[in-house]
Point group: C2
Chain length 269, copies 2
């Protein structure tokens, strides 16, 4: 089920800049019992990413109206919201007048993986390029993620970890990364590449409230190898601990349940 | 006028990966008197870019059939061909089965700028990120070009020049660059970023045939400043000499006509 500018079954103009140049942003969020989880935070990030690219963000009411049309049919699943700079004549120059294209699509629940024993992950060969002008933004230029995700086919491997061109650890192909290490939470700084997701943001904020040591900092592969626990997180999978990363193995760490508790609490506010 | 998979007025499925992730490639070419200029070379580059991303390239006949539908109506102008990995469920993983989406769109002639006195250009502030896995490919992830092109509004400035994150000169926002310097042609190596266009390729090949010294090499800003002539080129604008680049000025160089002659010859084969 897809809504384009509020119209069910709507289609996209081939001259849309989202298609022509990847000129837009998106979010993926969870529906549960008819509720879009962490919606105010999701909208805030959408608006911030639009602002960063100088795209006009639709008002929150328009998107809520779209989501209501979906929840009238599907109470659970995944919603992807895509906003593009809209239809314009050929050329990179941003048109003086452009109407943001709003796409809200539903898809079913992803396959559930048990949290009990953690997930398997691998290191990817692709190195993310460093582009401070786009870092952190969940924009539509995602070929690096596509290439990285194409490196493995083994369905037992849930995620691939990515380094940037300087060898710093950035996160997974579709997830952010948080380490528990030397008594503190550490998540990679995303000022040169990567997507700054809202689950990560929420964990960092809550840890600060709880006086749990937490740091946003460059992360080296050695930091991962010597971590007490490594977590991957996004709005769809929640928080997953890595049990196996190529030659490394970790036992389940009790902080996982604490972090999940923070997310559940925020989701149910 | 737009054809989507051969259908005039066709529209794009919102679940197309070209829109979702910029997962596709494109070309822009010139129509003149009902002929798609340099078509065999354009198709070869399209096929090569598809191959690099493991996208199935349509056969040349399908695209020629689309172009014929356009030239039946418009004998001159610009044609953009976009190929995407097609419609697929959510997720970065490349689907096992995907049907390439084929978009062929026409637009009118760009505004003609006189070649006689050269063009004005500027240096852009944005630095291109270095990603060897995507370098040279004309893919749909073009936000860097969009951001760079948004740095100026003065319509007297025809193009902006881009450096990469290491300070090497790569080219214009929508064009390749060739210098005439110390008796040889030099064009930036595009193994870390940039788009390797076919006009540049054609010039390099022909120069080699003619025993004119030509080199593909890293280019520093000092090389541009000390060049005898600086040319910008693409399939739509042809070959333009820069007359003014911020504080620098150049007189028109006689090699310009020679390079244009090579392109004209190839276009009329």
């Amino acid at each position: 089920m897809n809504l384009v500018n509020g119209i069910e079954g709507g289609r996209i103009d081939p001259a849309d800049r989202g298609l022509a140049y990847g000129d837009g942003v998106f979010r993926t969020l969870r529906l549960r019992n008819g509720k879009a989880l962490l919606w105010p935070r999701q909208y805030a990030k959408l608006a911030a990413d639009c602002f960063a690219l100088d795209i006009t963000c639709p008002g929150i009411a328009a998107l809520e109206y779209d989501i209501e049309k979906i929840t009238a049919v599907h109470t659970d699943g995944v919603v992807r919201i895509t906003l593009t700079r809209g239809v314009a004549p050929r050329g990179y120059a941003i048109p003086g007048v452009a109407n943001t294209t709003r796409i809200v699509g539903w898809s079913g629940e992803p396959p559930v993986r048990s949290d009990a024993h953690g997930i398997r992950a691998r290191w990817c060969n692709l190195r993310l390029s460093r582009q401070p002008a786009l870092a952190g933004i969940k924009h539509l230029n995602r070929l690096e993620n596509v290439i990285a995700r194409s490196e493995w086919n083994d369905s037992a491997i849930a995620e691939g970890l990515l380094l940037d061109s300087e060898g710093l650890v950035i996160g997974g192909t579709m997830s952010n990364l948080i380490l528990m290490r030397a008594g503190e939470l550490v998540t990679p700084a995303l000022d040169a590449c990567g997507v700054a997701g809202i689950t990560r943001e929420l964990i960092v904020e809550r840890a600060r409230c709880e006086n749990m040591p937490v740091r946003i900092a460059p992360v080296a592969t050695g930091d991962v190898r010597s971590a007490d626990a490594v977590f991957l997180l996004n709005s769809v999978i929640g928080i997953r601990q890595i049990a196996t990363l190529d030659d490394l193995n970790w036992k389940m760490h009790p902080v996982a349940d604490q972090l999940r508790g923070w997310i559940n609490y925020a989701e149910n506010l």
